[in-house]
Symmetry: D3
Subunit: 306 residues, 6 copies
């Protein structure tokens, strides 16, 4: 079982204090990117993961590649561009419910990727999110072509819609996702995203709406209420055990990683959802986008400790 994941990694400058940026002088540099979070989640559980991307030929690009390597992810296919900077963003935390991000990601170094970079791969599962196709028209085209060729190789395709309103409009997302949905085997979508994109209020409506696209596993994430899944005519939902929330960023990515980990073990839908909830729980109770994702060795140590 091996995973192929494509996405854009970003350097993040996190303020060390809340408030408007002009009152904050110290920042902590971390690494983010929704698809990279999923790759890390799977790799920490000792899955075989290849991450394809591109970064600038600069010190920030060096850092991202070292980080990917440190996680045991195959980084040989992260390209370097002399013409681009490595994408970054700066966070401004006014208060816990009012967070601004200022992005420096256009044009993205990932525009040097093309279909040839993917030809050699025939993974068990190919994972993308709705962020990569939002970066430019070129990225949207590339996304469709990659999905198409993976489909032709009988690769399972998983996709998390990951709405990013700063990158494109609702209308653009609607038409893009309708184009991509026919290729998708496992779809992750938040309940708020379903509402925003398609005016859909509950899971039945969502399943109805998606029937035409013939998606075999539909996973609707519901925040604190866990998730509800339809797969092979079975429906299952589960709530996570309540945990003190430190930082919700990356929780959806953690859910996808936990879910797909159990998919790779070929285990039941129940197990997939439970592990999705479990990994999301680790991430929301830890500061950072991916720092909370556990390794198998940590999970085993925890079990022993109790």
């Amino acid at each position: 079982m091996n995973f192929l994941i494509v996405g854009e990694p970003l350097i993040c400058f996190n303020p060390t204090e809340n408030g408007a940026l002009r009152f904050v002088s110290q920042f902590k540099k971390t690494i983010g990117g929704a698809e990279l979070n999923v790759a890390i989640g799977l790799s920490r559980l000792e899955m075989d993961v290849t991450y394809i991307s591109a970064v600038g030929n600069d010190a920030l690009g060096d850092e991202i590649i070292h980080f990917i390597k440190s996680e045991g992810i195959d980084s040989k296919h992260v390209l370097r561009s002399n013409e681009h900077t490595t994408s970054l963003y700066i966070k401004e935390i006014m208060n816990e419910s009012n967070i601004n991000s200022y992005f420096y990601r256009k044009p993205s170094a990932t525009e040097i990727l093309n279909e040839k970079h993917f030809e050699e791969f025939k993974p068990s599962l190919f994972f993308m999110t709705g962020i990569f196709p939002a970066l430019s028209c070129y990225h949207l085209d590339l996304t469709r072509n990659l999905m198409k060729s993976m489909k032709e190789k009988n690769v399972t395709i998983a996709f998390d819609v990951n709405v990013r309103r700063k990158l494109w409009s609702v209308e653009e997302m609607q038409s893009a996702f309708k184009m991509l949905f026919p290729y998708i085997d496992i779809l992750f979508i938040g309940d708020d995203e379903a509402e925003l994109l398609f005016g859909i209020a509950n899971f039945e409506e969502l399943v109805d709406f998606l029937t035409v696209f013939n998606i075999s596993e539909i996973v609707m994430k519901q925040g604190k209420d866990g998730a509800i899944v339809k797969a092979s005519n079975q429906i299952f939902s589960a709530k996570p055990k309540p945990l003190k929330t430190i930082d919700t960023v990356g929780a959806g990515d953690a859910f996808a990683a936990g879910y797909l980990y159990q998919w790779a073990q070929n285990s039941s839908i129940e197990n997939r959802v439970h592990w999705g909830n479990k990994l999301a729980g680790y991430v929301i109770s830890t500061l950072g986008d991916n720092e909370g994702l556990p390794t198998l060795i940590q999970l085993n140590r925890n079990t022993i400790n109790r």
Copy 2:
């Protein structure tokens, strides 16, 4: 006596430790920009300074505008662009003689500036550097047009060549500067810049070479050796008193500010050079691009303290 200065301000993320960026996690945010440094230097000496520029309509742009205001500089003509981010760069200090900067400044918000924004002004002195015209062809055109119209209003024009090889090539600089020199009354150029741009080895050669452009004051900065000036057929040079160097960034801007401050007092060339050296001394013995520039009130306090 009032000054009009145009330039691009930048947010800088400074590492709190030396070394490749992947080993540094904490950064301190400051504000830089060669022209802004000169504006600050003059304003701290209680000159009347207007700074014209443009930044993004984001929190980093807010910060720059608050900072400019805090220095008593007229900031009403710093425009906000919804289409641009505020320019920034990240420093990497391998060691004291090996410093890399990674810029995120293209396209620059300052491309929304045009000649109309300058029509209302007829300052005593108009100051620019070679960085602004390097940002794009549009910036170079705008620079020439601004200089031309200022010249027509009989405004004195001061210019610091400020070579930036990351922004344009030596050839581009040569042709650009030759186009701009005829408008210039006071020229600041480093000895290393004269060598790089025109293959010129000493001040006599420089004066010879520039004769054709009819520049009334030629100021060649010589780092630790101070500066040498030719003005109204007079030549004067002076070395600064030796000081422990903490950080040379901004020293050239400080020199220009000190020199132009005495120009505004209509004092002798000797005084102009002495104050150029003096302000440069304050800046090199302090960390930061403009933090060391003294206020009149500080200078007076120092005198009392002794």
Copy 3:
């Protein structure tokens, strides 16, 4: 519409950790002062504000003046004293409900202010708080004389009682406030302050008690319950929407700023209270005394973002 505000600014050394000071080694320096907070709140909403005060002729005084300028407040009337230090205090945060402050503010540099410094002004509104008259007998006399002369110029006078038991006794406050109330047009008082000072338990009692002073707008602040106001025979109260509290310091000042901003727009009492609550909400959900006060530009950005 323009505001004239007089008060004492203070440098604050904030511990970076909770606990008795002997266990805390790092401190962060900020700037506070109740009247300055109100000035900042109004200036960020692009009101025309002049702040009159005095600080030491030292580096801490320099910092305060730069900060005031950065906020777009007219700082030309902040005097410098060679005979005084700039006032400061050190915070000790034992836990969230047990905070000690150690003040170094006596004698205050503001004792060099006198009536002549105010002669030239005839603002739309003159704002003071109960802190300034508490600093010394001289300050109390000056306060009364300033109110008297503003009254004679038909200036509207707003006053926030701002009880400070470390500066004077309840008895001193009672007699001082009774002396000042006759000059006041808009009075801000907390429900706990009304209880402490006059043994008053509810708004009707307060209105009764104050009838004799002929105050046209009486604003009783009620913490989490918002505020209740009587103005031109109209009574209105409103609760703010609940927000996670980070730091309540400055909330009362923010309320006053929001209220007076709408007063300056000549809008309804309802609007005045709503904006008072709104600004207080920004401040309590942000660390710091005035850092949370929004600018008009931020408010507009927030609206767009949603």
Copy 4:
């Protein structure tokens, strides 16, 4: 009234951020040790306390001795060993309910202590916890011998079981504690500890179970529910007033210190429990193991401030 306390002090490296240690680069060094916390609690209330222990002849040992001195505790009997390092541990805070500690304390420098170091002392009260005898067989033997000889001198012996499962097994604890209980006059035990060690569900069962050991004061700590005590056929329990919990480490030690302080004043059981709860409240609302323990002078200042 004077106290003799024996225990092992530890240097603690506390992460400045939550998360797996590989994501944390900065640590803050503090000093801990359950018995030392009790010694500090009593000394800050101006009790006469001697602490007997041993540390390495290294800079960390120096620090511990300076700290003990700074608290006014007699440190002359803290020995230095050239053969041992000073014990330390590193904390890893995954989230508030998942904290790992990595100890470097074996062999402990305290193994150079022997009975002769205690011969000269005949304190009013001798205090130990279940940690010291857990460090090695030698420490267990020494504990029994010290208790025996103190008993022979008619010294009151207080003991807090302080379960440490990383140091020994439940079975080892059971047999050790049964050996030590006959010497004990005042026993502190948590309800969770009673459950773990002896399968005891409530206070009556505990009192029954302990009858055979003839312990005159049995104090069962119940976390947020305070404590329940049986002494001289009297039973008393009290809950603490609710406080926001910052950090529960050291709360049990604080309870013991407060309880024993009132024991030393010969005051009622009610007072002993109230002061136990009171000191525990100070510690849980403050970061750190002993930083929150109040001095008499602080307690008096607080009273004046209100």
Copy 5:
């Protein structure tokens, strides 16, 4: 052999960065005071030292007393004043040769000291500096009276002139010191101080000038050149071995401590000067006023390590 030392301790807020204070936001709190430095130097060498002083009844005063205790100095005679704050100062480090200090020390809590607090003492040596008498006329009077009564008890009196121009004028110092010199047995004075106060250019002149006061040991400190001493008709001078200078503050105090330590051992003048130089060397190669002063245990460890 025991020492009695009187002085004023101060809390110091040290900037974590160089530059004007408005550019520095973080500060580190330390403890200073010339006389306290000498007390620490002697106590670390295991001399018996009593320090008499007074601080505010506040958290900063608590900290100073804990610190004094941690150094093994007798702190029982440090009084607490409810009417005073604990003295403090803020450092501003423009660059290594331009350091400003902003003091908040008037009135000083030490003005509650009087002769009665000293009656019980008859130390081997009484040490003061020229800072204490500079704090007010009362302090000068007290200084003279203390010296007089110590003299009557045949106590050896050591005095370091410690010029502080911010506290009093050269003229005031001249007259004060001439009044105090007749009581002094061991005088420490810097060569720059001798020049400033009495226009004296070399040691012979100094000895001549002081003949009238009948001082038995005259120690002239010469910075990097060590010191020159005249005692019992013997003259001796020695240079220290050169060390990289980190921070010269406290070097003079360290010299005095080293010198007086050997005086207390009754060793030769050579040894006194060598130990003065040695301790000064430790302090100048360490950041902080007294942090570099070594303990006997450290000195022994160092010897073993080589």
Copy 6:
């Protein structure tokens, strides 16, 4: 060309300030270990490196393994021990020439390594230092056996003596090294180490002394003076270009890495020494033991930048 390196990695707690540890509260965690530094140096130059070691089954061990992976070194053969902690040390920087280290490395987790873990390997070069055999008798035996079996496989053996007087005595080192020298092909030794161990004053004496061991390349490191080498009857020495020294720790390891990198390219002795000096230069001008070691990609970028 591939390298096999065995050694013990250590976590290091570095003080953020100079001074005795009791005055330092903040520490920064890094990773060190002489052999690991060499492995990193070679891997950054894109050599194929396997590092064999063992760490505790704890979070510090996790960190070391992630770090090794991030550098592209094969980490599959770093074992985990449930019975050991991960080794660590704490630095105390009194001043630049007086640094103490407090080690917690006995027993070392590497004692779970045995010959079987090496059987599968036949690298181009096997590298060890004199630290590993110093950890215990077992380590010394294992070192000899590993060298013997590598020799039998015709593997080139490189060894850096790396004197550690805290781990063993000069006499122990002499006898150990004489036992190991016969197996060694490339020997690195400092001039000060040659002096300490064998009383040898210059290179000729060293070559003479070592003749009996038949070492084909003898490399004597001379600090600022570079190195002198004898190989295949050729002698070559070179000084590095002078650089400002920030931190000399790791310079010897960097020299070995640079030297062996060129050895692997089969280039001349001159080149080997030049690259040894070059890499040492990078490390001494950067803070940290291995942070300064450049990657090939950085070296190429630097060339372009100039």
